[in-house]
Subunit: 452 residues, 2 copies
Amino acid sequence: MSQTKYVLGEDAIPTHWVNLLPDLPGDPLPPLNPGTGQPAGPDDLTPIFPMGLILQEVSPDPEIPIPDPVRDAYRLWRPTPLYRARRLEAALDTPARIFYKYEGVSPAGSHKPNTAVPQAYENAQAGIKKLSTETGAGQWGSSLAFACSLFGLECEVFMVGSSYDQKPYRRSMMQTWGATVHRSPSDLTDSGRSQAAHPTGSLGIAISEAVEVAAKDPNCNYALGSVLNHVLLHQTVIGQEAIAQLEMADAFPDVIVGCVGGGSNFGGLTFPFIRGTLRGENKIRYVAAEPAACPTLTRGVYAYDFGDTVGLTPLMPMYTLGHGFVPPPVHAGGLRYHGDAPMVCGLVKAGLVEARAYKQNETFEAAVQFARTEGIIPAPEPAHAIRAVLEEAEAAKQAGEERTILFGLCGHGNFDLAAYDAYLAGTLEDPEFSEEDMRAALDALPSAPALA
Amino acid sequence: MSQTKYVLGEDAIPTHWVNLLPDLPGDPLPPLNPGTGQPAGPDDLTPIFPMGLILQEVSPDPEIPIPDPVRDAYRLWRPTPLYRARRLEAALDTPARIFYKYEGVSPAGSHKPNTAVPQAYENAQAGIKKLSTETGAGQWGSSLAFACSLFGLECEVFMVGSSYDQKPYRRSMMQTWGATVHRSPSDLTDSGRSQAAHPTGSLGIAISEAVEVAAKDPNCNYALGSVLNHVLLHQTVIGQEAIAQLEMADAFPDVIVGCVGGGSNFGGLTFPFIRGTLRGENKIRYVAAEPAACPTLTRGVYAYDFGDTVGLTPLMPMYTLGHGFVPPPVHAGGLRYHGDAPMVCGLVKAGLVEARAYKQNETFEAAVQFARTEGIIPAPEPAHAIRAVLEEAEAAKQAGEERTILFGLCGHGNFDLAAYDAYLAGTLEDPEFSEEDMRAALDALPSAPALA
């Protein structure tokens, strides 16, 4: 039997991150200062980000070297395995060859440490003593807590209220790594106090609180787990390793599938391949899977909008459901964001990436089939990708073609078993985005230049 | 910098298990039929075990081939990584080189699938349709549920009542893999009904229930997650891989440390090394770490005793705290067993393995230090091994010697964060085994031949 799992030695950890910016067609749309409406420059960002990350955010270089201390920390879990899903293929009776890149082997159980580590490193290098951040289900907050513990930084996390109440174990995980965790909205910030009427909180509110803390304390910076260029940049270790592992398997993808919340998992897996597509070296199709309850790419407006609820961040060009939109509490907490990374949005806008939205129950149905064949219980976020993979595998079967499918299994579901419980008991809901939500989203857009 | 992580390709998955039985000095003490007091033969075991496993249990062959379908399933997570704990070494300022073999990358998060898979396979080969078992914290039950899903077997799990109430996520995990889970003691069995006065349950009671179900249903067999020879045999893939990985690191252990509950993690890691020790090829020291609340090896009596509470199993020669002993509810659920594997007990009795008992808080203190340096949050069971490793590292420092320490990190703590929460809040208890417990243990021993 051929291999099931393609493993690489530590020397195969990438030495550079792939920066897709210079390959994108046209000039990138800049973020805007919300006060002046003018392009935001480094000065708009220095109160909350170190210069090392700001330079990565706007770099014109196609490759950016990974600092040695970051590569050394990556050794704790990288390279991650690439699997051939032989048992799933057999269960589906499909001619498709299905591969998945598994990021759940990291200490925090997802792809998030890939960027948490370089962010903590650059801040420590800049003499910063503390990082503040937000977290929803806890994947990002626990990853940053882990990264801060490696570089001797304090870590303060504002955790979305509903998740804080429902997921005490993720909070304990952050505390075990030494972080301080607050329930958001808190009474520790102006932003939190202004949102006391929304006691369950939202990612947008928690971002406002964390940004405010960082802006007021010169020893503290802010760290974001997705959306920004430098975050997607750091995640490109995923796609680079996948290219090397697919070569071991003598395979090349016809289609690549990833789930999209803020876009860092999707960008990290696809950008090293998309660079080849943009340069005419391959003709891969790309599928972005998102929740029907928060259908940013499939139903959002392409416009400038805030990254947070209160309106403290620069305006970013992206598909958005409106910065005031509070998505229904689907279990894929990492996909509950009103916007998406500008770089991913631009690729969707350009027609290079196809977006699809799925309802909650159909994603869990796919996840359970995956767990019972491949063994790994997926997080609810990549369950959306698995749903799309089942469609692609069926399409290959209908066409009678041996297509190669690659998808990102960006985290395990060890902290999401209450959701599986609800699915198996038949009590899981299928919330959808409504016309009323749509009208509210449009009304809430800030005044800013229109986007074509 | 030298390597942090030593990874092997799939071709390095062992092709044989290491059977230590023929190397042990003297004739092995047989299990006894509890009714006749005579050595238990295959006929005593066929009602609940398939012949394939019974033959492994008593095999005189030093190596037993791993069937191809088992090796194929092992590919889902094996070989597991071996790490050099460089960050922990630096934090301890020790000249010792510390290595750990990490089994938490398996789908169920521990070493247990190493034996669950071959047990499910042998039963499926024998035409069995269902397996019954017990589980405490859920590591074993979830591993067997996973293995049954791979080979198309039904799986029925009796889960210790207190864990069933406290750890709903482990139950959900088993159900996600398709298993049926009952709270034990249940009213489904005579054994369960007879123990209704102990509503929190115990491993011994749950074993009685699962054995009873298997004994009454010809299509159902029983599966045990530790203690028996064939279970320890299956776990020797751990130690064999570790030998190959230490060779990559140009290292050989001076001391090997593992936690002991039933003995399968400890045996799996050490037996491939102990064979060399018994043959005069090395002089490794071996340290078995157990809880002070259930100090089987350090304070138990060496005697024949039942494996379960009700007295359905053969009598086994082992250190025991008495089959009626219900250990206090320490969080290391996998170490809460009144006995230990006869093979491990024999090695302790012979002076080849040194046993040490630790209190709960000192093990969590060690685990938090490990999490904040190495990144991985350990399960409470291997936290006992880490405590012993800290002692060994300090001893090396005092002696000024560059000793090499290997230990087994047999599982992650993702399902044990409530325990970390209690430790960090200062509310974790330190139960200890009392003189009264000791007297009760001695009184409860069944009449059987005395052991030297």
